[in-house]
Amino acid sequence: MDLPTLIQTIANSVVAGSVYAIIAVGLAMAFGVMKMANFAHGEFFMAGAYVVYVFYALLGWPFPAAVLMAIPIVGAMGVATERFIFRPTRDNVMAGFMATAGLAFILQVLVGQTWGVGLMRSVPTPYMGAMDIFGAKIGWQRVLVLPSAVVMLSALWFFLYRVKAGKALRACAQDPETARLQGIRIGRMTMLAMAISGASAGLAGALMAPIHPVTPYMGHGVILTAFIIVVMGGMESIAGAVLAAVLLGFVHTFVTTLFDAVTAQMVGVAIMALVLIVRPQGLLGRVKA
């Protein structure tokens, strides 16, 4: 690999890692608080992309406004999922998992019926052109993902560590029973976790809409990567998810450049397996007492 290709590949990796981080953090948070996996997380990502498709591509809103719209809309979808799926199935992890798998298919069909299936929805690139970094060229639309990821993760960190509700959320994730004894309302916290989870997936989808093919099935490709990241990072660890996302971003990008995307996916899963052998709790997960 020559130097220009190496620089370009590193730049590609940083962007990919940022995208993975935004997508996976919400999944990690939901799992941390509820101990349940949301199989429809990829479809939340898809919903965010469709919000941009509707408000930006169809209705002509400014791109930033359309992206901001995705946050409350998909956040509300997260709340509804918690209220109507996870809460009734709280004592049955498998039922919750299967119900969200069903939700994923329902959302795909619903979107397909509403906006059509087949070839991708066309979302114009709002910021055409590329930024030159030491000879590497990154499209402005991709560059935008990087600060967005930093802002979102910083805001999340601030919320979790500096805001009372965020601290309560962390308490629920660490020990729900003790948190309940402290007067924290678990139901409200799980709803908040799903709102944040949905909002972050929606934001990721919204930012990626001009880059990623927008189809009802776009969430499929995302969910596997998100699960790998969350498992590798440590199921309940947001910091672990971010670390794993960056790591996987580099692995996927370099292996795809040198070989292909299937090999990259295989290497990603192999690294996850290796991490779990060496550290069963994940990169930054904690061993249960």
Partner: protein
Amino acid sequence: MFLKKTMGRREFFTASSISIAAAAAAAAGSSFEVPSLVGSAAAATPEPIGDPIHIGFLAALSGPDAGWGLPGLTGNQIFIDRVNAEGGLLVGGERRPLKMFAFDDEATGSKALQGAKQLVLENDVRFISAIGGNPADATHPFLSKKKVIYASLISTDIMPDRPYLIAGGDVTPRIDMLRPFYHRFVNPDLKRWAVISQDDTIGLTSQAWEVGSALADGWDVVYDVNYAIETTDFAPVVTALLATKPDVVSLNLSYPTFVVQIVEQLYLQGFKGLISANYLDTESILQKVPVEYLEGAVDSFPLFDDPWWGSPSWQHDFITEWMARYGPGAPEDVHREITGIDWDHVITLKVWAEGVTLAGTVDPDAVLETLRAQESIPSILGPSTMAGKEMWGIDNMVSPPIPINEVRGGVKRVQAVVRFEGWFAARKEKIIKVVEEKGQMHYQR
């Protein structure tokens, strides 16, 4: 940004030793007729009305592949309604109306077999329009047994043991074989050819034929990779490709969704050479790159409003009729733009209809035998032949002339219409050797 062309299109036509479709009319840029035995001339004398002939449409009407199937219903229905408006298809001295039955196979083999059985056993269809691929693999034993003609879009589905499977309405992979020749002819100074497509069956096969053709026409093939069909981020794919410093990047049969992303990455990562593809969805691509970046890019799906066809023409009439029926605010508004798929399935349907009229029967053996015996069969892309034995082991490839387009000011415009057979005959040994080396001949797959 783009490399200087050394020969104009007109010079290309006159200098080329290849036979050019529609010969002088095409070279002059005027219209060429789409003559038809099922057209109005044949309907001048009223004949008795016979039983309807049932036509099947077995393709993805939902799911990710629906873009290749669903639009085909519109074109086939327009064709059927035109035939019926003229009294029906002329078969053995009587006119028989056409009626279409559709089944959504969701691009899966099991659903396709279910659909084939329903269409044949319950709806008694005599001809099936389809996309092909896995559904073709799954349905051919049943359809061969029942002797029902299955028209795939993809020539790579043709096999010697599939006597009733015809294909070729879609110009794949013939256009992918001719594009290196076209670029070589227009830009003889260019040397380095890079080609990518997805790693599914048709991508592998089509790319093998293109690589063989590029080598036969003197290109240095500097990059020949099939990316994983699961790829969602094309930045690393394009980075690896551009490291080989190609003059031309060919996207072969990359699906339109992938093409948009790859062209965007070519633009973002600073590629200055020529772009060539089986199909360019310019409307979607121009949402991602400036119009000037796509100038001169080559593909093979013409627009039917292209002045090339002349006016009046079958193509222009089709557009007008489609817009009046399915366009914005029309009675059956489909809420999308017209695409190449709207007329792609019609190519083979019309050829089959011509065969039925010529044979005077819907018997598939007689129809295919009759079509193979014709020197020229009218099709919506010009005079066709039944060919393909050297490529697929059986003459079941409908082979109309191949339009080659360049993007001009953001719009695709036909630059040449090339007949495939003469070009292939002069190079087939070299090409087939490469395809064999890549294990993609029909007897190797």
